[in-house]
Amino acid sequence: MTLLLEILIYLGTGVFYWWWTQNLSFFGLAPDFIFAAALSAAILAGPVKGIAWGFFLGLYADMLGSGPLGAYALTYTLMAYIVHLVKRQFDMDSFFSQLVASVSLSWISMLFYMGLSLAFARINPTGLKIFLAEPFLNALAVPAVFQLFYRAKRRLHVL
């Protein structure tokens, strides 16, 4: 039952992100809800589950995009592992640490993803506008997604 709920949350996250980008994009910009979900899951879940969430959400992002298949999966897998290491030293549940983590990890993820894209497909999928603006949009989205996931964890015992 828990697994089924987790699959539903996983698919729901992807569909919500797709819907948002199709309908609520502002000047071609939208928060990366898949990134926000991967970061929130990494903060809330245990190490294995957090990394698994990162991998599968990354795979979903790969399926939606036109970059090399597996690049987002690897990026979010590593991001989840970094979060696992960091959260042993810092309180990642607080609002401020989530803001800092989402901005810094957004940029690190983008740079890593760009590097993978250039290495494996010789394309640079991230424009300057997205590179400069999206981390701040993600910083707004992460606390909201975290709260949703936190409630889901408490009530439905998922993550």
Binding site: V15, V48, F55, S66, L74, T77, Y81
Partner: protein, 285 residues
């Protein structure tokens, strides 16, 4: 703690290896086809510009053809809707054309000189009272010129020009409560006054009881009237009211020949009335 750390390391290595395998073997046709079909289902657009060729690389040609067919289908549906709209517009233009052609045919047989004008504005609060036409004093329109409406293949009296401006004019309809016309009842030629009532019907007054008026009698403008040329069809008697005890005449209800609700063009007959008639209204010219 150590077990958790080990689990995290194992998970990281497993998923990282899986990701790298996906990255290293992107040429897998099955994986790429599944990806493009899933991506296309969520975001059905192949307009990726320069990335298009990269996006569909290694995808079997039949799948690409299927997706391109879907794109073509969407484009054709949009084009089909556009053509349907054009067809509807063409039907309206054709109807306009037929109506105008009929009007032009009719105007050749009208014995009066005049000009066609379009109805450009109707006041909802004065629907049966007046409307504006797109011809004015610049086109030779003068106050009290007779306005004819076209109903089928017949022209009938609609009203008269009431106010004239350089580019447009106001027409006082016969259905206006303050409008009237002296009419002759065919075939006897008995004259009576037809007045507007502010509705789609007219009222005929001052008809002698012994006139022999019957329902269905047709009315034309009388020779005795000065404002309108004689012999213009006005309408048909639809109902005759009995004489009231205090009156010496009977009244009748008349269905106007011209339905003002369907008028789009009118024919303005140029009248050369005596100066005092033209100046009587005291309107701008």
């Amino acid at each position: 703690m150590s077990r958790e750390k080990d689990a995290a390391n194992y998970a990281l290595i497993s998923f990282a290896v899986l990701s790298v395998l996906l990255l290293l073997f992107p040429a897998s046709r099955l994986a790429h086809t599944a990806r493009i079909v899933a991506s296309y289902s969520l975001y059905p657009s192949l307009h990726y510009g320069a990335k298009y060729a990269h996006f569909v690389r290694n995808v079997p040609s039949n799948i690409v053809s299927l997706l391109e067919t879907d794109q073509e289908n969407r484009t054709l549906r949009a084009r089909n809707k556009e053509l349907e709209l054009q067809l509807q517009r063409a039907a309206v233009i054709e109807a306009d054309n037929e109506r105008l052609a009929a009007a032009m045919r009719l105007s050749r047989y009208l014995p009066w000189a005049g000009a066609w004008a379009r109805v450009i504005n109707k006041d909802p609060s004065d629907w049966y009272g007046s409307f504006f036409i797109d011809k004015g004093s610049d086109d030779g329109i003068a106050v009290n010129d007779t306005v004819l409406g076209l109903q089928g293949e017949k022209a009938g009296l609609a009203g008269r020009v009431f106010e004239v401006y350089p580019k447009f004019s106001k027409v006082l309809l016969l259905t206006n409560p303050s409008a009237s016309a002296v009419c002759s009842i065919a075939p006897a030629g008995m004259e009576a006054l037809v007045e507007g009532r502010g509705t789609w019907r007219l009222k005929m007054n001052y008809v002698p009881e012994e006139s022999g008026l019957t329902e269905g009698a047709e009315l034309v403008t009388a020779k005795g009237g000065i404002l309108f040329p004689a012999g213009l069809p006005v309408g048909t008697v639809t109902k005759i009211y009995p004489r009231e005890s205090s009156m010496n005449f009977i009244t009748a209800e008349v269905q106007p020949l011209v339905n003002v609700n369907t008028l789009k063009e009118v024919y303005v007959v140029r009248r050369k009335l005596p100066r005092e008639f033209s100046e009587q209204e005291g309107r701008p010219q």
